[in-house]
Symmetry: C6
Subunit: 76 residues, 6 copies
C-alpha cells in the first residue's frame, strides 16, 4: 500500500462524505484482508446476508460520523 | 448513483433528522448492495427478525447522533 | 407517520432524557417495521433473550449519548 | 417507574461515574423488560456467557463515555 | 468493591491511556460478573475465539475514545 | 510489553492515522490475547469470515474516529 489512498477527510458535499465513509469501511476490511482476490471471492458471503449488510452499514455510519465532524457537517 | 441523494444534513426538525438518519442507514446498505431488486427480495430476511431489527435501529442511532450534532440538536 | 412524534430532544431531567432515548430506540425499529401488529407479535422473540436485551440496551445507550449532549448533560 | 431513578449524571469520581454507567446499562434492559422476576430468572443465561458479558461491557462503555463527558472527565 | 479502582482518567501517555481503556473493558465485565473464579474459568471460552477477541477490542476502542478525550489526546 | 508501542496519536496524514487506527484495533486484541503464536494460529479463523472482517472494520472505525479527532481531522 505505498500509494496514497487517504489524502484528506475534506469533501465538497455530504454525499461525497458518505461515499468516503463507505470507502473507509472497505479500507478497514482491506487492511485486515489485503488480498483483492480473496475479498472478491468472499463477496457472495455477505452481499445477500441482511445481518452482514446491516453490520456493514453500521461501520459506514461510524466513519460518516467522523467525516461529517471533519467537514463541520458541511455547514460552512 | 449520479443523482444527488444527500444534499445536506440540515433538517427543520428532530423528526426530519430522525427520518434522514433512517435514510442514511438504508443508504449504507444500498452502497454495499446496489441492486434494489435484491434488497427488496431480502426484506423478509430481517423485517420480522428482532435481532436484525435491533441492529438496524443501532445504525439509525449512530446516524441520528451525527445528524443531531449537525443541527446543533435543533436548539437554535 | 404524519403526526409529530419527535418535536424536540430537550427534556427537563436526565430520567426523561433516558426515556426519550428508549423511545428513539423503539422508533428506529418502527421505521424499519411499521406494522404495530407484527412488532407486538415479535416481542416474545426478544423480551426474554438476554443477547437481544443487551443489544437493545446498546441502542438506548447511543441515543442517550445524543440526548444528553443535546441537553448539555442537564448541567445548566 | 414513577420514582426518580436518574436525578443527575454528575458524580464525585470516575469510579462513581463508571458505576452509574453500569446502572444505566441495566436500566436500558429494565425499560425493555420491566419484570424484575424475569430479569433475575434470565441472569444465568448471560452471566457465564463471555460473548454476552463482552456485549454488556460495550453498553457500559458507551454510557461511561456519556457520563465522563457530562462530568468534564473529572478534570475540574 | 469498596477499594478505589478508578481514581482518575488522566494518564501520562497514550500507551497508559490504552492500558486504562483495556482495564475499563475488563471492569465492565467484572461489574456484571463479580466472581473472579468464574471469570478465570471462562477465559478459555473467548481467548482463542476471534469473534469475541474482536468484540473485546471494540469495547477497548470505545473506552480509549473516552480516555483520549479526557486527556485532550495527550496534545498538551 | 515494557517497550513503547503507543508514543503518540498525532500523525502527518489521514492515511497514517488510519494505519494507526488499524494498529490500535490489533493492540486491543493483543492486550486480551498476548500470545503472538496463538494470534497467528487464529488468523485463518477470521481472515476469510466476512462477518468478522466487518466487525474488525468496525473496531478500526471507532479508533479512527479517535485518531482523527486527536489530529483535528488534519485540517491544520
Amino acid at each position: 500500500m505505498a500509494e496514497s489512498w487517504l489524502p484528506s477527510l475534506i469533501t465538497a458535499t455530504p454525499q461525497e462524505g458518505f461515499e468516503l465513509a463507505a470507502k473507509l469501511a472497505r479500507l478497514g476490511v482491506k487492511l485486515t484482508q489485503p488480498s483483492a482476490e480473496i475479498r472478491d471471492r468472499l463477496r457472495s458471503d455477505y452481499d445477500e446476508d441482511t445481518g452482514q449488510l446491516i453490520a456493514a452499514s453500521q461501520v459506514v455510519a461510524v466513519h460518516f460520523q467522523t467525516v461529517a465532524a471533519a467537514n463541520n457537517y458541511w455547514r460552512d
